[in-house]
Subunit: 458 residues, 2 copies
């Protein structure tokens, strides 16, 4: 069976066996069961201790579930394993040949020096054909199917809303932090996986699958090391041609990880080599955690310009200083903060008070009215490729009506447009209005500039 | 009178005349009056329209107030002017010789092409001896005196708590955004000023004053251009020797501002020149808005190491990936993420489970207990110069007790120590506990690393 179909079993399982289920959320097996029960999928929890867990029938052993399936000839799509590491090889053998995929949540493998045990599990995967995620991993998540096979409680880690960003993370803790940052930045997630030690299914397999996933438009990928360099580059490149892939690579600075792209195919290697390979193949890289989240937000809200489009940006502000900070960062990102054409300056000068500054940034000052933004945008819509709007709500002239004005403009031009606004409590509702209208909002002028850059410098 | 004593009149006035007072917060003069009434200072609002404003006696003209003062021979410490620009010269002449300082909030001077009017005001200042802040400025603020002479309503812009960070901003909008960012990052402000066009009192005067201000430990300064280069450098350097000064310079990239440090003493100039001069004199520069706020937060919470101290940092985490991201940023900031000495690894190995990773970052994994952090810190306290703690609360083992543990450690060693934690709703109380214990918390691993850097790379 090819990887893409196998990943259907993983992300859209029709049934799930949970080995190591528990009755309480004080245990990982209980958290997982509680999360899994949110989906409409049939769950088979396995525990020797209880006959009923959280209101559904439990099975005393893997064998009892096997009997059900071998009798009917059906297969289990997904096994989730949370038993101690030394038990995992035996469990996998029991799951054969009636189980397609297994997520091994359990830790205690290579990451703690148990390389031999990890190799054994890897070999069993190859022998049996059960495709494996993990071990030592957070699990899988599919917002469009309500599949939640993550071992973190929903009270402890709220899930982001449904959206078009897929999160592929080697690290569970980084994935949790990404979930939180994505949620608070009002961005939505399609699918997510924390894949840990990656003894079988790895980032390349996920890239191949997501390239064809209709719910996913942007893939963000946190990577510590890459197993098979050539496969990784091929998959990342293919995905980048279909959708946006943004990679955040850690371990940038450890000489201990040094080992260039070698004949063995391992690309863990020196960060500089990794980074230059990405650049060479046109694969986007985030500089840090915030950059990853900010770029994903921009691309989730709006369609980026085609490669080779112009990069002239106009900054429209009601606070001079914030406009200059945004202009600095735009310039740093190689965007072109070119002056307003003299003809257009004259046109704007006719309708605006003399103290508005009409170069670029255009400063509407604290005397601004909502409709001023509309005048600027309509006048300059053909002169620029993207717009950065700064609307500081500490002055009286900025109201919720501005969101509607900007939305109308976006609908006629469809050019990239992002917002920076201050973060007063009164701003929250204005931000929400903007984001409902498809305008991503950022908490600093520089972050807004980097968000705009993600939409222009494809 | 020297500048320092003049600035006492500005920041700690005993009486204030408000010219252009209004009865409603729909007008700037009403917002200012409402804000000024929070202090215990005697206010003399001037308006021809009302006899009583917001419950206090109003005066129909500047002349009526002058009569009071010339009769008694007393002086007014501070005049706040919010009348239209063309009226300002006449008002200043009326304020002479019974007024020490004036904040000209009014806009409509050089920033809108009215250079002649600005020159006139400047000359009147020189002739009369009234020392001027502005024009075109946000105003002054002194948290320790409850002086609030800012023209933004408190509902629109909440004020930060009282603290030791002074905010000196050429731009009013940037100052408002800084206030908001400082407040939400739980940092406190001592004094603040938005000084606008700076025709008289400028950043250098504020630096001189703050160098001797007992309430101020850190000065953050947003600058667009500098009038007198030599004076600026001398004051900035002198302040940096007493306290921490961090400058955020905008207009980094505009060739239009090019003009190097010339014999005329103007340092507006090319950004590269400005930046290299700062470096040469050991004056700190922030790379962007967030960096300014994050550095100020670290320095507000803790005392930085002396120049020339070591820069070995230890990262203690319960999430592997986040630890590596922090380590990357520390290394980028030239901090030394040196490995734990073998002798200490052995010592820790005796008490910790085998799957804890004991290099650097030290990864206590999702199986962490609060007390593990204490064990690590106690064992390594003499091996490192600073610590970056990552405590992700999505796992069960992290509780509010951790704040107490870290606090106790800080009290015995006093070494720089910062926190990164995730931003779940459940984290808010833990963050608050940490910050009460003097540990600054940051919203991403990289920002925590930069916060730690501010405390070590002085």
């Amino acid at each position: 069976m090819n990887s893409a179909r196998i990943l259907d079993s993983l992300f859209e399982p029709k049934n799930i066996i949970l080995i190591g289920a528990a009755h309480t959320e004080k245990k990982l097996g209980g958290i997982l069961l509680n999360n899994l029960l949110r989906s409409k999928v049939r769950i088979y929890p396995v525990t020797p201790q209880y006959k009923v867990l959280m209101g559904i029938k439990a099975y005393p052993s893997v064998g009892e579930v096997r009997e059900l399936f071998t009798a009917s000839g059906a297969l289990v799509d997904l096994a989730v394993i949370v038993r101690p590491a030394p038990e995992v090889p035996g469990i996998l053998r029991e799951l054969h040949p009636w189980t397609k995929t297994a997520v091994i949540v359990s830790a205690g493998f290579s990451e703690t020096g148990q390389a031999k045990l990890q190799d054994e599990v890897k070999n069993i995967g190859k022998e049996t054909g059960i495709r494996l995620v993990g071990p030592n991993c957070l699990g899988v998540f599919n917002a469009h199917q309500k599949l939640d096979a993550l071992f973190l409680a929903r009270e402890k880690l709220k899930r982001p809303k449904r959206g078009n960003v897929a999160v592929i993370s080697q690290s569970g803790s980084v994935m949790a932090c990404l979930f939180e940052a994505i949620r608070t930045s009002n961005t939505g997630v399609s699918k997510a996986v924390g894949y840990g030690n990656a003894i079988d299914i790895d980032e390349s397999d996920f890239y191949d699958y997501l390239a064809r996933d209709s719910h996913t438009g942007i893939v963000i990928s946190y990577i510590e090391s890459v197993g098979y360099g050539r496969k990784f580059i091929e998959s990342a490149r293919a995905l980048s041609q279909e959708k946006t892939l943004i990679i955040l690579k850690s371990g940038k600075s450890f000489s201990s990880q040094a080992a260039a792209f070698s004949h063995t195919g391992r690309l863990a290697g020196r960060y500089e080599v990794f980074s230059s390979v990405l650049r060479q193949f046109g694969i986007k890289e985030a500089v840090d955690f915030d950059d990853l989240v900010d770029s994903a937000k921009a691309l989730s809200y709006q369609t980026p310009l085609n490669r080779g489009s112009g990069r002239r940006v106009c900054i429209v502000t009601n606070g001079g200083g914030s406009g200059v900070l945004a202009a600095d960062e735009c310039t740093k990102q190689m965007l072109d903060v070119t002056r307003v054409r003299e003809e257009k300056v004259q046109k704007l000068r006719e309708v605006f008070p003399p103290f508005y500054s009409l170069s670029n940034p255009i400063d509407l000052t604290s005397q601004v009215k909502d409709t001023d933004y509309s005048v600027v945008l309509e006048t300059l819509k053909d002169d620029y490729d993207g717009f950065l709007i700064i609307a500081l709500t500490t002055v009286a002239g900025i109201t919720g009506a501005l969101a509607g004005i900007i939305k109308d403009f976006r609908e006629t031009t469809n050019k990239p447009l992002v917002l920076y606004t201050d973060s007063n409590s009164s701003t929250r509702s204005i931000k929400a209005l903007f984001e409902k209208a498809g305008i991503p909002s950022y908490p600093s002028p520089e972050r807004a500039a980097r968000g705009l850059n993600a939409l222009i410098n494809k």
